[in-house]
Symmetry: C2
Subunit: 219 residues, 2 copies
């Protein structure tokens, strides 16, 4: 019985890692669609979200059945509740990739991004990749040290986020209000994406160490 | 045993309603702080979020203990999983009220809002109040008809959201990029707030009817 339970819990973990991989692909493609004004790529991200949602839903159903069938003890249940929350975060990260793809689609065939911000968005895209990949590894390995490192990656995202506002608020911003609105939202999507990855890492820390989950407020 | 379980589940419901009430108060105060450039009010929302977070955390702990102690059957477990998600949505709605209060604080002693947008934000604030109050009632009564009505309220929020962008994108927008960035984010917070309330209603519908939870994509 215990062995069956552990095997099924391992399957749930595999499912979460698979979900994280799918989100990483979606975010990578979303960033490319934005940088290249690539409509097909944007559409593929938007259409592909149904796959991510259905992965998340299947996974939740499996967690649910596992809980009903196996009547887990407290520590197992904590893992399952954390897995449920992690799955919700990953699903939401997929939505954020969709929002970025939609921002690219909205301005097609034009570029959404002014040239001087491309480099910052490239970096935000890279950090988004890095943080979701690391979150996937943390889910797989339950490595608390690696989990804590995500905070620093998130801070790099926050710095880029602030940089973008600095550029838009400079006196000589020539691109007007529409571009500023687009970029404000896009930057917010990247920032929230990294936040969710950090939240995932903290959920894993909580399960492994028993530390209470603390929501670290941002300035 | 069954009676004890039902009583404890009723307590969880009461806790969710209490949480919704606290979020309604926070959002009301956040909107006031924004409209009146009231720093004390803004600070009270920001400081008060710890109370909302701790209400949510206590509630989750109670749900958790209930699950471990009572070994619920499938339908009870579905209610508990829904309650867990609803609690997470309410906690996030509290965060969004904090974001609005911070937007007010950031520009203090100046007004964050240009005069011609005040009326739209007043309406968004009213809809936010209405939708969180209705979500609280839906949690309490499990009334599916009332739950479905939240969709229409959310659509009113979305219309105001689009109106705001229309005003900012008009050729004669005189308030520059900084105000546009502020308002883009503030409008997003109100819109997400209403989205979460709608999600709560759909979770209740799911529990009552057994219908699968469908994430309705926005245009």
């Amino acid at each position: 019985m215990r062995q069956a339970y552990d095997e099924q819990l391992a399957e749930v973990t595999d499912g979460l890692v698979q979900l994280a991989d799918a989100v990483a692909v979606a975010m990578n493609r979303a960033t490319t669609s934005l940088l290249d004004a690539d409509l097909d790529m944007a559409e593929s991200v938007i259409a592909g979200d149904a796959v991510i949602d259905s992965l998340a839903q299947d996974l939740e159903e499996r967690m649910f059945e596992l809980t009903v069938r196996q009547q887990p003890v407290a520590s197992d249940l904590r893992s399952l509740v954390a897995a449920l929350r992690i799955s919700a975060s990953l699903e939401r990260m997929g939505d954020l990739a969709v929002h970025i793809a939609k921002a690219a689609r909205l301005r097609y065939p034009n570029q959404t991004l002014p040239p001087e911000l491309r480099n910052t968005i490239i970096q935000m895209g890279q950090i988004a990749q890095e943080i979701v990949n690391r979150a996937g590894q943390v889910i797989r390995t339950r490595n608390v040290v690696a989990a804590r490192e995500l905070q620093a990656v998130d801070e790099r995202m926050d710095r880029l986020h602030r940089d973008l506002f600095g550029v838009m608020l400079a006196r000589d911003w020539p691109h007007g209000v529409e571009a500023a609105i687009d970029i404000t939202l896009i930057a917010r999507y990247y920032e929230r994406f990294a936040d969710h990855a950090t939240t995932i890492a903290r959920r894993v820390i909580q399960v492994v160490t028993g530390e209470a989950y603390i929501d670290i407020p941002k300035p």
